[in-house]
């Protein structure tokens, strides 16, 4: 039944799974940060990831800014856009039921995607890889760019984890995650902190978009296609759990990759089976309790 499976195939899919997991981890990390502090289920995350890719494309085509410049500029531009979005859309409804913010961000998705479709069309646009070529690992050919994505996203995830778990700023974020009004009673400007946190989460999504641009086609729907998996990652890891988002992101990428070896049609299905099992057996998520009980 599994005669076709070779070590090369297995290792190849494992590596592809890790690369996909990089995107999952980075996007889920942004979602978890936003949910943790603001209790906003940011449906717009995929659209902001897509905006990151488009900003990189526009910077290249209209201003001649290469990929490496876009990697820095696009997250700042989209992050600033996110802060404006938070102030105009989310802040006025923050006292209302969380359902309102979910609907508001969903509306933002429709508007952003619609505008991008109007301007750039529905089909994908190519973005040239900044790192052509690759290396033969014996069991697979690894393009340099994918290796870069793997390493860079891992660095970003570790850096964000360090920021949140090991610094004073992170302590404010974690405390505000539990009781924001008490943190504010210490004299900390929590409304500003929320805006900046939303900006950081959005910037991470945009960074993911820039990283994805040379791998996938840049298209208005590139975020929507990914978001359903990202939400599953956040649910499995534990809503608001930073380490949960990172580890589950990579884990789901690997599971998806390995399932492709044994039963390709079921690779997506496997993610949601895990999500259902996690919801039944550990509804708070795989990692949330571990974080709280430190």
């Amino acid at each position: 039944m599994f005669d076709h499976i070779t070590i090369q195939l297995l290792m190849g899919q494992l590596l592809i799974g890790l690369i996909n997991g990089s995107f999952y981890a980075m996007l889920a990390l942004g979602l978890a940060i936003i949910f943790g502090l603001m209790h906003v289920v940011n449906f717009a995350h995929g659209a902001l990831y897509m905006l990151g890719a488009f900003v990189a494309l526009i910077l290249l085509n209209s201003f001649g800014v290469p990929y490496w410049g876009a990697l820095m500029i696009a997250p700042i531009v989209v992050g600033a856009f996110g802060i404006v979005m938070e102030r105009l859309i989310l802040k006025p409804i923050q006292e209302l039921d969380h359902l309102y913010s979910l609907l508001a961000t969903f509306a933002a998705v429709l508007i952003i995607e619609g505008l991008m479709r109007l301007q750039f069309g529905a089909s994908g646009l190519p973005y040239r890889s900044p790192l052509p070529g690759g290396v033969n690992l014996g069991f697979m050919f690894l393009p340099w760019y994918r290796a870069w994505v793997l390493v860079f996203s891992l660095i970003v995830c570790v850096a964000v984890w360090y920021l949140i778990e090991k610094t004073k700023l992170g302590a404010y974020l974690r405390a505000a995650n539990e009781r924001s009004e008490i943190v504010e009673s210490f004299g900390i400007n929590v409304p500003l902190m929320k805006s900046l946190t939303y900006g950081l989460g959005v910037a991470l999504a945009a960074l993911g978009g820039v990283l994805a641009a040379p791998i996938y086609q840049v298209s208005p729907s590139m975020g929507s296609n990914l978001m359903i998996v990202i939400f599953a990652v956040v649910v499995i890891g534990g809503m608001g759990s930073i380490i949960g988002a990172i580890l589950t992101g990579y884990l789901i990428g690997i599971v998806e990759g390995l399932t492709k070896v044994f039963y390709p049609e079921g690779s997506h299905l496997a993610i949601f089976v895990i999500m259902i099992l996690a919801l039944i057996l550990r509804p708070q998520g795989l990692f949330s309790a571990a974080e709280k009980s430190r």
């Binding site: 006292e95 302590a171 404010y172 539990e178 009673s185 210490f186 004299g187 709280k292 009980s293």
Partner: protein, 235 residues
């Protein structure tokens, strides 16, 4: 102790959503005083502290602190004027260590107690610095909750039921700490249901019923009218 109030609460109304909790509170606290808000459960004592701190958003009336109106200020702006708040449920952050909890509030004004002095004043915390906040006993959590607000430099403390749910020996210890803080010059507004505890530490008692002040008694008046005060508290 001057006669000009440090805090003046006048005709304070407050709501939780559509439900009205305060119906026109009036009282003052002078510098260096230790005043308790006493009354039955649900009388509006904790809501008063939360309103002074700006945590209850829907409120009307006047709250003047150090000569300045704060009713329209946000919680962090009120804190920066020199008010610190220790909530009833202590709000020790479970995801932070004791050390992180202790040093979380920033220094907002000069005159805050240094971290070394805090550990000298609250020696139990010294050995638990690396523990998770949730791992502390109730008494230790209460000590931590009080200790951490002292580093901000605020000289006016709002303490909400610090004796609640604690063993008598720990309550006595907390009482001593609060008296020490008073001796150090802090002005304290204390919400308390434990009359014995309140009598031990306070200069003056403000009795709250159904969201309004119904009586104000100094320490001597409380001793002379103990039956009346117990009647207010339903004990």
């Amino acid at each position: 102790m001057t006669n000009d109030p440090l805090l003046t609460v006048a005709d304070l109304h407050a709501w939780y959503g559509e439900s009205k909790a305060l119906h026109g509170m009036n009282f003052t606290v002078r510098p260096g005083e230790l005043v308790t808000l006493i009354g039955r459960n649900g009388a509006g004592k904790s809501t008063t502290l939360r309103s002074i701190m700006g945590i209850v958003k829907k409120r009307k009336g006047s709250i003047r602190f150090d000569g300045q109106e704060t009713i329209n200020r946000r919680t962090y702006q009120i804190a920066r004027r020199g008010i610190a708040y220790c909530p009833e449920e202590r709000a020790i952050f479970a995801s932070l260590t004791v050390a992180e909890n202790l040093t979380l509030p920033p220094v907002l004004k000069p005159g805050g107690i240094s971290d070394d002095d805090l550990l000298r004043q609250f020696p139990n915390l010294q050995q638990r610095l690396r523990s998770g906040g949730a791992k502390l006993s109730g008494g230790e959590q209460q000590m931590l909750a009080i200790a951490r607000i002292l580093r901000t430099g605020a000289r006016f403390l709002l303490l909400d039921e610090p004796s609640e749910g604690l063993a008598p020996v720990v309550v006595r210890e907390i009482g001593e700490k609060i008296l020490q803080l008073k001796e150090q010059g802090f002005t304290i507004l204390l919400v308390e249901q434990n009359l014995q505890f309140a009598r031990r530490v306070a200069d003056r008692h403000v009795v709250v019923e159904n969201g309004v002040v119904v009586d104000t008694l100094d320490a001597a008046e409380v001793e002379a009218n103990l039956g009346r005060v117990k009647n207010y508290l339903g004990v």
